[in-house]
């Protein structure tokens, strides 16, 4: 008998064990249908449309008021619309901000306002109190000057904080590029504009737009429609309707070819990438449903192509996504990621590759089905929140969607075909008409990005700037660049041990070979002689206070400023003397010297002579000096480049120098460098 029971028990348990085959993904049980919760809708005499979603799961209720007006262009006072929304929460005719805060917090509620909304929620038991506060904020905002000043101060500090945030910078730049400053979506907050906003600006906004006839009120949660109706009549019935202006704007379009918009953030360890352009996509259209499915495959989630490629396969980033947004005025496409600095261009390449692929090749069926499942699954999960039902109801009204838009949503998603996806991708995915916005370390990413299109350097507000200035790391000065150079060639101590240097070189110009010898000694003494077949063709001498130059035996007349320049620029380790000579040094920017980024330091000597020196960003070594000459043919640049640094007596000397004036080049190859030689006393005698 006992055995029998054991046997029965075994049978009872066995079938389940037997079903499990670990090697295969378990099959799904029959799917349950997602039911979209019901809502009630009614309109008050003043035109306020009310939507009620009843849900008693938790004892909470939420009220959201949405003002549905056309976007407002703020002109030279960008920010005032947002401040108008914020100030409503900062005090009413009878309650100061502190009192409002206190009363809201006391019931553990939340109450917030924006330029187009008021939102409040609380436990059901505090609902009456919440509505007192909600309606007070709606009807009786105080618009106090003092609160405006505080909001301005916070806004300005916020602006300052955002200057460090690469994502904020990217989003500013995107707004400016996509829509332009004449469009409400393209306006960017600027300090001086925020300063100029007045309380009258805010009042006028409130008086014009907070009207019931363009508003929706959604009530969600632990409340019955009957009670909601009663409350709404009592609390919102007397709100007066008003004429609200309607505005239209020019529709922004995508650029004709790719534009790389580079914002330098020299301390970045990552590049924030944002590939974006405006699109004409209206909410709730069949195009939107198709675009939604297409974008899901491209970059809608971690199962999208962008994520799989750029994070999964390449590991360039923590996440790579794209989005496609619809809007009654103008929508947009975005694809982006924060990527390691050194793979910035590789990442852009992959983004564009995936964009191109999805718009030229039909997607496989299994991938299409996966995308649909993801969308439908997310749709179903969102239904857990009663707020979702309310937003469905509001959208249906606002965008005049078909009544069954959301109840047919799953069916419509399922109906999108591979052909639909290809057609919609051709229409909306534009790998050749995009703004490629990159916020990162310009000196390291510029060259790589230039292959995708014209590179425009922008500041954090999207204004074009001189690229050279942008790439200087914060805090770096000319003195620091020179200090690094001295360190790089051996350090002050090693340099100090060198009394003099004697350099023998072969000079090549226009097919001829000449002999050169250069001697430099401490005390700003130098001598240079170039000779051909034993005959001196050029010489220059400095003795620390005076200088002489002769060519083919003829003395070249020098003005004082030229003498000063000759003495300093040809002295041993001349950079040492710049400061004590009273020269003015300035870090002008970063420029590319034969493919290598270099800091450009300008030198202005006390007597007015000027020249520039270029130091490698990477190695700190001096790569070049240059000087602008006034010649009978106009201005020409005389440049001397330094390459092939090799160590002699603990100090690195360039073993190849090339001098160029206009198209002429003189190459100087070093044959030997000798240090601390005994020199004849009259070596540096200036004749």
């Amino acid at each position: 008998m006992k055995n029998l029971i054991v046997l029965v028990l075994l049978f009872a348990v066995q079938p389940i064990f037997a079903q499990i085959d670990r090697s295969k993904k378990p099959a799904a049980a029959p799917a349950k249908e997602f039911k979209i919760g019901d809502y009630e809708k009614f309109t008050l005499k003043n035109g306020l449309t009310v939507i009620v979603v009843e849900n008693h799961k938790v004892p909470r209720v939420a009220f959201s008021l949405i003002v549905d007006r056309d976007p407002v262009r703020e002109g030279n006072k960008a920010g005032y619309v947002s401040l108008a929304g914020q100030i409503m929460r900062n005090g009413t005719a009878t309650r100061s901000k502190a009192q409002l805060d206190e009363e809201v917090d006391f019931i553990g509620a939340s109450l917030s306002t924006s330029a187009t909304s008021i939102f409040g929620s609380s436990l059901t038991k505090h609902q009456d109190k919440l509505l007192d506060l909600f309606t007070d904020v709606l009807y009786n905002p105080a618009f106090s000057e003092e609160e405006l000043d505080k909001l301005k101060k916070q806004t300005l500090s916020g602006l300052k904080a955002n200057q460090d945030d690469p994502e904020s910078i990217a989003s500013n730049v995107e707004a400016k590029l996509l829509y332009g400053s004449d469009h409400p979506y393209g306006e960017i907050l600027l300090e001086e504009q925020v300063e100029s906003i007045t309380i009258e600006d805010l009042k006028s906004y409130y008086n014009t737009y907070f009207k019931p006839n363009i508003s929706y009120l959604a009530i969600v949660g632990d409340i019955t429609p009957k009670e909601a109706k009663k409350i709404v009549k009592k609390r919102f019935g007397a709100w007066e309707r008003g004429e609200v202006p309607e505005v239209s704007y020019a529709v922004p379009v995508a650029p004709e070819e790719n534009v790389v918009a580079l914002v330098n953030r020299s301390n970045s360890v990552q590049t924030v990438l944002d590939i974006s352009y405006p699109i004409d996509l209206k909410p709730g259209t069949p195009n939107f449903i198709q675009a939604r499915v297409m974008n899901q495959m491209l970059g809608g989630s971690s199962s999208g192509r962008l994520f799989k490629n750029i994070r999964g396969d390449k590991g360039y980033t923590y996440g790579a996504y794209s989005s496609i947004s619809s809007d009654p005025l103008v929508g947009s496409f975005n694809a982006g990621a924060s990527v390691r600095t050194e793979v910035t261009d590789s990442a852009v390449h992959e983004f564009l590759y995936e964009m191109k692929t999805i718009s030229t090749e039909q997607v496989p069926d299994f991938e299409l089905q996966l995308a649909k499942n993801v969308i439908i699954g997310g749709f179903g999960r969102a239904l857990e929140r009663p707020q979702t039902i309310a937003s469905f109801a509001i959208n249906t009204e606002r965008y005049s969607l078909p009544e069954d838009y959301y109840s047919s949503y799953v069916k419509n998603i399922q109906g999108v075909s591979g052909e639909d996806v290809l057609a919609i991708a051709k229409k909306f995915i534009k790998p050749e008409n995009a703004y490629i916005i990159a916020v990162g370390k310009a000196s390291e990413i510029e060259a790589g990005l230039s292959k995708f299109g014209e590179v425009k350097y922008l500041d954090m507000y999207g204004e074009e700037v001189d690229p050279a200035l942008l790439k200087i790391p914060d805090g770096l000065t000319a003195d620091m660049v020179i200090a690094r150079y001295i360190e790089a060639i051996g350090g002050a101590e090693a340099l100090g041990k060198i009394e003099n240097v004697q350099i023998q070189m072969t000079v090549e110009t226009m097919g001829q070979k000449l002999e050169g010898i250069q001697i430099q000694a401490q005390g700003m003494k130098s001598k240079m002689e170039v000779s051909m077949g034993g005959m001196v063709v050029m010489s220059s001498t400095t003795d620390g206070t005076d200088a002489a130059v002769s060519q083919m035996g003829n003395k070249v007349p020098l003005q004082d400023a030229q003498k000063e320049e000759q003495i300093i620029s040809s002295s041993l380790f001349s950079e040492f003397y710049l400061e004590e000579s009273g020269a003015d040094l300035k870090l002008e920017g970063v420029e590319s010297i034969e493919g290598e980024d270099a800091y450009n330091v300008s030198v202005t000597l006390p007597q007015g002579g000027t020249y520039n020196m270029f130091f490698s960003v990477e190695s700190d070594l001096k790569l070049k000096t240059s000087k602008v000459l006034d010649t009978p043919q106009g201005q020409m640049t005389q440049a001397l480049t330094f390459t092939d640094y090799q160590e002699v007596a603990g100090v690195k000397f360039p073993h190849q120098q090339t001098q160029s004036v206009g198209p002429q080049q003189v190459k100087m190859g070093i044959n030997s460098i000798k240090v601390n030689q005994d020199l004849p006393e009259d070596t540096f005698k200036v004749n």
Partner: protein, 436 residues
């Protein structure tokens, strides 16, 4: 009679509505030690399937920081029966969502799925627990991803590294001295052998909780859980080094230069572990200081004096004694010493004065609201249940913990503020813009 009925009806309704706030659950152990918690809510056809392992960054060795989190990434990639990427792909195919997180004390994995995909969730979690594969392909890809996560969330964010700087000064012995993200150097150095050892030690059923919430049938789910998890063996008992942080005796003050525009001030006081006698009162002190626009710090620093752009206080509540963080980001042009003195004023006031009745009641109302909000989604419920069991040893705290708060008195608040808000018990960090 009619009146009586209506009174009775009202009573019954009231009872029902009180019942609604209670989270019902069943819990039990499998023979291999895996603890199972099930919460049934059939209102929407979705489920949350989750596992929580009792291992976090505090279990890492000092030269292998960030490892538990790195492991979390690797553990979500591949198993004997799931190809690389399958964890994510299968969940997506099913229309679900998945993610994972690592804290000081525990590692959490979850899937949100349509309820007809319960078996998928169980299969994935059981594969992770028993059949996970760690190979160099997976490790190398995730190594880069984890490093990017560190750059994105910490290194490339203004003030992003404050927690790193704070912890390494606040703790001298305890492994809370680094955050779960760890260091680049250690992430670079992690080897396959490290992964295998970690897996064998911590990823065993007797060190984990399986928590399932949503549209399930309890009996059927129990059978499936047994089928997917019951066939595997218990692992060796987990032995941990219990490190006690010595009491801080001298105030630590330091300055950090960062790429920020606005200076900030961060302070951290050592506080008791979550659930300790003083914990609830200390938590309420933090709420009074910084929860909501009418909180003391917001009112004083942001509204009245406008010394700060933002101000806050936050419990770093953890299994072992943690920290209470108090911080403010200065408005442009503010002198940090003035900001500090004003913050100090609010902290001292907590010590010197009894919190007024009304403010005390406000704090209790806020707590009640937070509790109701936390239980509004099945994802939140699944995680809370797992957390209460694993860290606190009492699952039912999901229903009863609020009473611990409600039993705190105003005198308790003053007492704990005086006990913990002392200079010698804190670290102060001046966060300054790098000189231009």
């Amino acid at each position: 009679m009619k009146n009586f009925l209506s009174v009775l009806l009202t009573f019954l309704l009231a009872a029902v509505s009180a019942q609604e706030r209670r989270i019902e659950f069943v819990e039990y152990d499998l023979s291999n030690g895996l603890h199972v918690i099930l919460h049934k809510d059939n209102s929407t056809p979705i489920i949350a399937v989750s596992t929580m392992y009792h291992v976090g960054s505090k279990d890492e060795e000092v030269d292998k920081t960030g490892f538990a989190h790195f492991f979390e990434h690797v553990a979500s990639r591949k198993s004997e029966n799931i190809p690389v990427g399958g964890f994510t792909e299968y969940v997506s195919e099913a229309g679900g969502a998945r993610n994972a997180s690592t804290s000081f004390d525990r590692t959490y994995y979850y899937e949100l799925l349509p309820s007809n995909q319960l078996e998928l969730g169980l299969w994935l979690e059981s594969e992770r627990m028993f059949n996970m594969i760690v190979d160099s392909g997976v490790v190398e890809t995730e190594r880069e991803v984890v490093k990017e996560e560190k750059r994105a969330r910490y290194d490339n964010q203004p003030y992003g590294t404050f927690i790193i700087e704070m912890l390494k000064r606040a703790f001298t012995e305890h492994h809370y001295m680094w955050p779960p993200i760890g260091s680049m150097e250690h992430i670079n150095a992690a080897t396959i052998e490290d992964f295998k050892a970690f897996k064998n030690k911590y990823y065993v059923p007797n060190n984990a909780v399986l928590s399932i919430a949503g549209d399930i049938e309890v009996e059927k789910t129990k059978e499936l859980v047994e089928a997917y998890f019951g066939e595997f063996e218990r692992g060796p008992a987990v032995v941990r080094d219990e490190i006690v942080e010595p009491k801080q005796k001298v105030e630590v003050v330091d300055t950090v230069f960062d790429n920020v525009q606005l200076p900030a001030l961060f302070m951290a006081y050592h506080t008791p572990e979550i659930g300790a006698a003083d914990y609830y009162a200390m938590n309420m002190v933090n709420l009074i200081l910084a929860n909501g626009a009418s909180s003391r710090m917001n009112r004083k620093l942001v509204d009245e004096t406008q010394l700060a752009l933002a101000a806050g206080a936050q419990d770093l509540a953890a299994e072992d004694p943690g920290l209470s963080l108090v911080f403010a980001i200065a408005t442009a042009g503010t002198d940090l010493e003035e900001l500090k003195a004003t913050m100090q004023g609010e902290i001292d006031r907590m010590k010197e004065e009894l919190v007024p009745e009304k403010e005390f009641q406000k704090t209790k109302n806020q707590i009640e609201n937070n509790f109701v909000g936390g239980n509004a989604s099945i994802a939140g419920i699944a995680q809370s249940l797992a957390n209460y069991y694993l860290i606190r040893g009492n699952t039912n705290l999901i229903n009863t913990e609020i009473n611990q708060y409600l039993s705190v008195t105003r005198e308790d608040l003053q007492k704990v503020a005086s006990k913990y808000f002392n200079d010698e018990n804190r670290v102060v960090l001046y966060w300054l813009p790098k000189p231009q």
